[in-house]
Structure formats: structure tokens, C-alpha cells
């Protein structure tokens, strides 16, 4: 149960990384930092400015989309075709954003108001936090929205075309530059969305982004880079693996299971469950 909920959360957190890896061939190290920015923005809009939490979430995502566009233009665009370069840049960027967050929001956890502090009672002696259920189901909902956007809209089609073959896409009149720009913004907004949805359950501190980035990497390697379906499967698998691992082997090692799976998959099946190799 906890595994499935955490799985949906992981899937949403990884969706942006997967999109960027697929369309731009960029491994985005700073994804987790966009996640915490999303959480901080929604905290400030809802707590300090008193906006309605849902509205605050939307505004926060909008902001992040713009930040994403800006970062793509200034930092990422010059590194296309040089995966090492872009990885180094996003790695440094993650440290920079982490410290900006530390200075502007302080080291203490920020928790936007939760919808509910209660738990639901299931059969027998089993309880589960309502807020965590909300986080899980809204993650799943947002993930499905994203999936439909990529699969069913014209814009999604263009994104897929660029991901598959940028030259071909260019040849049929798609501006691959613009598609990449928007994809990056979208990915950053997705990270922000995860932050908005999760922070009432797991309050964020400036260093919360790092574990999220790492688990997103595990998920996209599982699912194959750039595959959205794989992303969901990878997320669920990671959630379950961590949960069973900590229940039956050791709670202290729950994160390790993901990393071991990552190394195993890279060594034996680098394309992941569905996807394609970079």
C-alpha cells in the first residue's frame, strides 16, 4: 500500500527527468531543486500571501515554467550534443539552487497547510494518513494528465517527434529548438508540481532535492530514459522495492535497494524495461 502510493509519487517526480532525458539527451541533476522551489513557492503563496492552496499551486507551477525557460536559454541550450557538459552544468546548478534556497528560505522545513491531518481506517488494525493518500492520488492524476498531453495532443506529438529523431522532425517543419525550450520548462514545472503536491506530507528543507533527483534517476533507468510508461512502472517498482526491502530486510537500507537495482539494470539491461538508450 505504502509502496504503491510512494510509487505514484516517485513516478511524478521522475516524469520531468524522463522528458528532458528523452527530448534533450540531458541528464538533469537540478531536478530535485526545482522540486523544492515548487514547494517553497506554494508555501509562500498560500501561507504568506494567503492564496487558496490550489491557486497557489498553479501559480507556483507557472513561475517554475518560466524559470525553466530561462535556464534552458542561458545554460542548457549551449550544451546540446555534449551530455557530459550538460551534466556538469546541471550538477553545479543544483548546488547553486540549493544554496539560494538555503539563504532565502532558511534551513527549517516548510510545510504548506495540509488538507487533512487524519487517517483513514482500513480493515483490521490498518491506518493510513489521508494527506498521504491525497499526495499519492494527485501524483497519479498529474502523471496521467502529462501522459495524455504527450500522447494525445499535437504538441505532445511534436515533442515525441523531436525525441525520436530531431533531424527528421526539423525536416517536417518542427522547430526543435522551440520544442526543447518548452519541454524543459514543462519538465521544471512538473518538478514543481511534485513539490507542491508532496510538501504537505514531506516538508521540504533546502537539501530535500538531492534524494529526489537520485530516486528519479533510478526510476528513469528502470523505465528506460524517455519512456513515460516506463517512468510509471519504474516509479511503482521503486516504491514497492523500497517498501518490501525495508519491511523484510532493513529500514536503514531502504534507499540502497533502488541504487542496487539501478546498477544491476545498467549492467544487464541498459535500455530499461521499455525504453531506449541515450
Amino acid at each position: 500500500m505504502n509502496g504503491l502510493v510512494m510509487g505514484a509519487i516517485y513516478a511524478l517526480s521522475a516524469a520531468g527527468v524522463s522528458l528532458v532525458a528523452g527530448v534533450m539527451r540531458v541528464i538533469n541533476f537540478s531536478h530535485g531543486e526545482f522540486y523544492i522551489l515548487g514547494a517553497y513557492f506554494s508555501y509562500y503563496f498560500s501561507v504568506s500571501l494567503g492564496l487558496n492552496p490550489v491557486l497557489a499551486a498553479v501559480v507556483a507551477m507557472g513561475f517554475l515554467f518560466l524559470i525553466g525557460l530561462f535556464i534552458e536559454r542561458t545554460l542548457i541550450r549551449s550544451t546540446y550534443g555534449q551530455p557530459m557538459q550538460s551534466m556538469i552544468i546541471t550538477f553545479i546548478l543544483s548546488i547553486v539552487l540549493q544554496n539560494i534556497a538555503l539563504i532565502s528560505f532558511g534551513p527549517y522545513p516548510k510545510k504548506p497547510p495540509a488538507f487533512s491531518e487524519d487517517s483513514v481506517h482500513f480493515i483490521g488494525d490498518f491506518n493510513y494518513g489521508i494527506q498521504r493518500l491525497i499526495a499519492g492520488s494527485s501524483s497519479l492524476f498529474l502523471f496521467c494528465l502529462f501522459y495524455l498531453f504527450i500522447k494525445k495532443t499535437r504538441f505532445g506529438l511534436k515533442i515525441r517527434a523531436v525525441a525520436q529523431d530531431p533531424q527528421m522532425a526539423e525536416a517536417v517543419g518542427i522547430h526543435s529548438k522551440r520544442i526543447r525550450l518548452v519541454s524543459f520548462g514543462l519538465a521544471v514545472a512538473l518538478a514543481g508540481a511534485a513539490g507542491v503536491v508532496l510538501s504537505p506530507t514531506f516538508p521540504v528543507v533546502p537539501t530535500s532535492g538531492e534524494p529526489l533527483t537520485l530516486s528519479a534517476f533510478v526510476v528513469i533507468v528502470f523505465g528506460g530514459m524517455g519512456s513515460i510508461r516506463g517512468c510509471l512502472m519504474g516509479g511503482l517498482l521503486l516504491g514497492l522495492a523500497e517498501n518490501f526491502g525495508s519491511a523484510y530486510i532493513s529500514t536503514m537500507y531502504s534507499q540502497v535497494f533502488g541504487f542496487i537495482l539501478l546498477i544491476g539494470i545498467i549492467l544487464f539491461r541498459p535500455t530499461g524495461i521499455y525504453g531506449n538508450k541515450i
Partner: protein, 310 residues
């Protein structure tokens, strides 16, 4: 042009640096020597990371982790088996080198991104294992480590670090200028072309990776016995960032770059210590600018300027 005077200037610079470095303990305070020692540790770390990143084009995120392996292996041997410390340092270095070799063998053939992801996972696994196996490693509580010298003397540690760093850097310099170094760069510049003229790309990369992990292990082991206390922090991603920033700011792919970068950033971070958390931000912004606008780093900028001068 004036090659003769250029060469003599080079010699002059070299000799004065060597003299200054040797005489440093005479006029620096304990605190100054401490910073010098830590700088030398970072010189070792960034120079060896540069060997892989700057000369074969692969980004490893496990470099700090290899230092942690060297430090913990050596310290644990010294604590639990009471072996002489020079021996445990050699042991720690070898463990790091061997693990580096195995890791390199396994994932270098897969290519860039995958190497980065695997080294990243490896570093994280290592950090979690060290943190959790605290009956051995004392986890985040920090492991007390015996020192190398019976009576504590900063000058002795400094001279030891200096000797090893000079030796390692000269070694790396020779390697890069040898035929092997040519192959390194051939692998980086054009993998396919290098392979077609008979350079075995994977072997070359594995060699560089192994050497670099070996030096990291040595640096880590020495650091542990100097600081007399180690915690999983030496293998952390923040530490990794520092090494990366030092190399990038100093100049990726040059010999002098990482040396510059390491000393500069360490001294700078001590100077702006009172600003606490700001130093990582400052380094981050500087390295972003450098990577974006001057990918050759400070060394590259200096070199360009010298051309103008002469």
C-alpha cells in the same frame, strides 16, 4: 619568439614556488599550515579527478567516494588490527584502486552517461553503508583515527603531504606528456578515430580511471590520518562538488588548472568562512560562469593572456 627568456622565467617561477612551499612551515602559523595541508589534499583530489574528466572525457561522481574508501579502509585496518599506519595507507590505496578498476571495467564500456549514473549510485551506496554499519565505522558519529606520527606535528604532516603531492603531480604530468597521454586525448577527442588507429579505447579509459581512484584512495587515507577523524561526509556529493568546482574553475584538462583551483578555493573558503553557508553558493556561481563562458578555466584564461604578453 623569446623562447629562452620564456624558459628561464618558467624556471624562476618553478624554483620560487618550490622554495616558498618548502619554507612555508617556517613562517606560517599552525592555522596557515593546516590550510596548506588541506589544500594539498584537494590538489591531489582534483588533479586525479581531472585525469579522468579532463583527459578522457568521462565524468565520475565516485571520486570523493574513493577517498572515503581509502580513508576508511586504512583507518579500520589501523584500529582493528593495529597494523603500522604506512602499511594501512598502502592497503587503503590499493583497495580504492582495485574497486576503481572493477567499477571502470564494468561500466566504462557502456559509455558516458551510464558511467556517471553508476558512479553516482556507487557513491550513494557507499555513503549509506558507511553510515549504517556503525558498529564498524561509527557512521555519522565519526571515526577516531590514529595519527601517522607519534607526536603531533603539523610541519611533519605538511612535508609528507607536499612530498606525495609533488610526486603525484609530476607523475601525472609525465603520464600526460607520454605516448599514453596522447592516447588519452585521442580517446576523448574522437573515440571512433582512436579505435580505428588501434587505440583500445576501453582499456585506456579503465587505466585512467584506476589510476585516478588509486590517487583518490591515497589522498583519502592520508587525510584520515591527518584529521584523525573521518565521517561519511568525505564521500558526500557536496565534497564531490567541491572537487569538481576546483577543477572546473582552475581549468579542466590542464595540469596546472586543478592545482590552481584547489589552492585558490580552499584558501578562499577559509577567508570567507565567517559568511558560513555562502561559500558554496559563491563557488557554484563562479563555476557556472566559468563552465559556460570559459570552459578552459583560469588556466586557459592565463594562457591566453600570456600569448598576448609575449
Amino acid at each position: 619568439m623569446a623562447t629562452k627568456s620564456k624558459r628561464s622565467i618558467k624556471w624562476l617561477i618553478g624554483i620560487s614556488i618550490a622554495l616558498a612551499a618548502l619554507l612555508l612551515p617556517k613562517f606560517a602559523s599552525d592555522y596557515g599550515i593546516h590550510i596548506a595541508i588541506i589544500s594539498l589534499f584537494y590538489v591531489l583530489m582534483s588533479s586525479s579527478w581531472n585525469l579522468v574528466a579532463g583527459f578522457t572525457g568521462q565524468v565520475s561522481f565516485a571520486h570523493a567516494a574513493f577517498a572515503a574508501i581509502g580513508a576508511y579502509a586504512s583507518s579500520l585496518m589501523a584500529i582493528h588490527y593495529n597494523l603500522p599506519i604506512p602499511l594501512t595507507i598502502v592497503f587503503g590505496t590499493c583497495i580504492a584502486g582495485t574497486l576503481g578498476h572493477v567499477l571502470g571495467r564494468l561500466c566504462l564500456p557502456l559509455g558516458g552517461t551510464y558511467l556517471s549514473l553508476v558512479t553516482l549510485s556507487f557513491a550513494e551506496i557507499l555513503r549509506i553503508v558507511i553510515t549504517n554499519e556503525d558498529q564498524w565505522t561509527r557512521g555519522t558519529m565519526g571515526l577516531q583515527v590514529p595519527g601517522i606520527f607519534r607526536d603531533y606535528s603539523k610541519t611533519k604532516y605538511y612535508l609528507l603531504f607536499l612530498a606525495i603531492t609533488v610526486f603525484a603531480v609530476l607523475g601525472l604530468n609525465l603520464l600526460i606528456r607520454s605516448r599514453m597521454g596522447l592516447r588519452f586525448r585521442a580517446v576523448m577527442d574522437d573515440e571512433i578515430a582512436a579505435a580505428s588507429v588501434g587505440v583500445h579505447t576501453t582499456n585506456i579509459r579503465v587505466l585512467a580511471f584506476t589510476l585516478s581512484s588509486l590517487i583518490a584512495g591515497l589522498a583519502g587515507a592520508l587525510y584520515g590520518h591527518y584529521a584523525m577523524l573521518i565521517s561519511p561526509d568525505i564521500g558526500s556529493l557536496a565534497q564531490m562538488f567541491l572537487i569538481l568546482a576546483m577543477t572546473m574553475i582552475g581549468g579542466l584538462g590542464s595540469i596546472e588548472g586543478p592545482i590552481f583551483g584547489a589552492i585558490l578555493l580552499e584558501v578562499l573558503s577559509e577567508q570567507i568562512r565567517s559568511f558560513g553557508e555562502y561559500h558554496l553558493l559563491v563557488f557554484g556561481v563562479i563555476s557556472l560562469l566559468i563552465v559556460r563562458f570559459a570552459p578552459q578555466g583560469l588556466a586557459g584564461l592565463l594562457r591566453r593572456q600570456r600569448w598576448k604578453l609575449f
